[in-house]
Structures are given as C-alpha cells and as structure tokens.
Amino acid sequence: MPRLRYLVIVLSFIIGLILMILPLPDWVQIYRPHWVALILIYWSMALPKRVGLWSAFFIGLLVDTAQGTLLGQHAMALVIIVYININFYQRVRVLSLAQQAIYVFVLLAMIQVVVAWVEGIMGRPVPILAFFSAPFIGMLIWPWVFVILRDIRRKFILN
C-alpha cells in the first residue's frame, strides 16, 4: 500500500486544525497564524497535482465549522489563494525562504481581506489592524513550516 503514505498530508492538516482550535489566552488569539493556510500553501506549492482547489474548498469548510464563521467564508478565501498559488508556484519555488515568506504574507493577508470583507457585508465590526497581525506572524513562521513539511515530504517520498 504505497498510497498510504499520502495520509501524511491529511495528518498535517489535522494537526493544523488542532493548532487552530488550541485554547490560548485572549490577548494572544488575534496573533494566531492561520496554520491550515500555511500548510495548504506548502502542499499546493510542493504537490500541486495532489492538493488543489477541491482540497482547499473542503478544508476551508472544516475551518469554517471550527471557527463558527459562515460556511464558505474560509473556503472561498482558501480556494482563491490556492488559485493564485497554482499560477505562481513555479516562480515562487525557486525563491529564497525570506522572499517566499513575503509571498506567503500576501496570501495570508488576502485570506484576512476576504474573511473581513464577508464580516463587513454582514455588518459586524472588523478590527482592521488586528486582522493583519496574524498574517505577519504567519510570515515569520513560514520558514519553519516550510522546512518541517519539506523534510516530511522527503522522508515519505511524496511527489
């Protein structure tokens, strides 16, 4: 069963979801990076044929359920960033980790914009500055996520 190796990808998303609902003190919560998005960006960049738009959609729905947002809010945001990633991954793959991190910041900020936009349409107050602290932390964390997931990919020979 060589295909069983690919469960590692599913497992990485499960860990991402756990990290997103892990209880943190109130003041840290707004700095929590979008773990699921970071993991999704990595896999869709490394294995674009395996992890694509539909994965983004279903994972997004799970994030929406976990966060109590509208069904489709995170799903739409994740589908959009994976779409962008599909068009850019070949160029981004060859960049240095620091340059990649900036690209990841843009993608993460885009998620926040989409989520905040929907919140705004529903007439909920949107704390603009707080919304962008999480992508910033995500950017700082990206090199580690990248290295860890790359090692996992090599270890399990996923391609």
Binding site: I21, Q29, L61, A66, L71
Partner: protein
C-alpha cells in the same frame, strides 16, 4: 507549454465554480439555516479534535481534584453541606410559593409553566473565532440539546445554542455583538433589549427614554419575550447610565451576572412544554 495553458484555464474555471458555490453557501447560511444538517455533520467530524484539544484542561482538573489534600476536602465538604442546608431551607419556602403561584395562575387561567428541565454540560476548552464570543459545550442532540436552547451558569444567563451536532453544541454568549437578550428590570418592570458589545463584562441597553425609572444597581432578568429565553432568569446588573441631554435617550451599560469567561460547568434549559 500548451498543457500548462490548458491546466491554468481549467483551474480558472474550477476556481470560479467553487467561489460561486462558496458565495451561495454563505448567503444560504446567513439568511436561513438551510445547512444546519450539513454543518452539524462537519462539526461532528471535528469533534474528536475538540475533545483531544480540551483533554489537557480536563486532565488538569482531574489531577487537581485527585491531589487535593484531605483537610481541604473536609473543609469543602463542610461548606457544601452548609450551602446545601441553606438551599434546602429556601427550597421549602419556594415549594409553598410555587404551589401557591400555580394555584393562583390556575385561578387566573394563565398557563405559564414554571418548572424547566435542565441538562448539565461542561465547556470544551477550544478557541473559535477570536472576534466572536462563542463557546463549545460537550452535550449535543444525543442528550436532547436543540438549537435555541438557553444556556445558563449558576449565576445567570450565558447565551443560547446556535449550532448542534450529536455530541457537542456551539453556544453564542449574550456578550456577542450579534446577540440581543430580551430583558426586564426587576424593580420597575421596564422591558428592554440587552445587546452584547464584544467584551465579556458588558451589555448595552439602547434607546431607553431619558425619563425611564432606572438606577445604577438595578437588576435585569429575562423577560421571556421572543420565546428563546424562559422568563425570570437573572441576566445583568446596571453599572453605568450615560445621559446625553441633547438626545432623548440614555445609553446604559450592564454587567452580566453569569461568569461568561470563567464558568466551566453550564446548564442547558429545555423549554417546558
């Protein structure tokens, strides 16, 4: 190269399709609860993760219970016994009052039910959207919980159930900016609506006339209007009255009685009847 262009084109079509689905889902989810069944299934698949995540907190409680010293337990036991006796004494009076109340209500021909059934539940320590006030509790449809049931702790009203799956339920707190609680002043009987404003120690009452009979320290209970919350459960105490003379209304700040950010055990009220 041609393959790549084709790939990109199919990706664009897929993306547009999925984005449309997402928008449709969001609209349907916002307007009406069409997808409650779907959401509860998704939520059920997440349940193992929620239990896993709240395991350390549960284990922590268990360990601290286990290692409580003998004397500490004795003291706690004595305190609880005293409390129990006090409550029992009060209950005896309550029973008489309740019987009398029911008799009088029967005489009047009013059929309001007094006894509500409760389900005891515990909080799962998971974080949700940091910009909303939601909590997750460990009882679901298997225990008879349904959407709209009121949730209280031992001090007052906490919120109501908005999503439910077989084994857990999401509760919106009364302090969520999207939540409004129909309330009534005990002292003056004025009815109003208490809005959440996003912080767990504040509720706002808007649009009360400046001449209304309201004092700091007045107590608010649920009015039972709207049918979601049963009547007469404590909600909040008035802490601040902001009077603006150029404006015909006062804005009032109240402090919720329930410990919204620290209660671990909650009661879910099954509406009677």
């Amino acid at each position: 190269m041609r393959e790549l262009t084709l790939q990109a084109r199919s990706a664009t079509i897929h993306t547009l399709f999925l984005v449309c689905i997402c928008i449709a889902l969001m609209v349907a989810d916002h307007r009406q609860n069409y997808f409650e069944v779907f959401r509860s299934q998704l939520s059920l698949t997440l349940s193992p993760l929620r239990y896993l995540v709240s395991l350390p907190a549960l284990a922590g409680n268990w360990v601290s219970d286990w290692y409580k010293s003998h004397t500490e337990l004795l003291i706690e036991n004595a305190a609880l016994k005293a409390e129990g006796r006090k409550l029992n004494a009060r209950l005896q009076k309550m029973r008489v009052l309740m019987a009398e109340n029911t008799r009088l209500r029967n005489l009047l021909g009013s059929s309001r039910n007094l006894a509500d059934e409760v389900i005891v539940a515990e909080l799962l320590s998971v974080d949700q959207n940091p910009y909303r006030q939601l909590i997750e509790i460990n009882k679901g449809t298997n225990d008879g919980v349904q959407i709209g049931f009121a949730v209280i702790d031992d001090f007052g009203v906490m919120g109501q159930v908005i999503h439910v799956n077989q084994i857990s339920a999401t509760t919106i707190l009364i302090s969520d900016p999207e939540h409004a609680t129909p309330v009534q002043f005990i002292r003056s009987g004025i009815r109003s609506i208490a809005f959440g404003n996003g912080s767990t120690d504040q509720l706002e009452l808007r649009y009360l006339p400046a001449t209304a009979d309201i004092k700091i320290g007045d107590e608010l209970v649920t009015s039972g209007l709207g049918g979601r919350f049963p009547a007469d459960y404590p909600v909040a105490t008035i802490t601040e009255i902001k009077q603006d003379l150029t404006y015909g209304f006062v804005s009032i700040i109240a402090k919720p009685k329930a410990r919204l950010d620290s209660s671990r055990e909650v009661l879910i009220i099954k509406p009677a009847g």
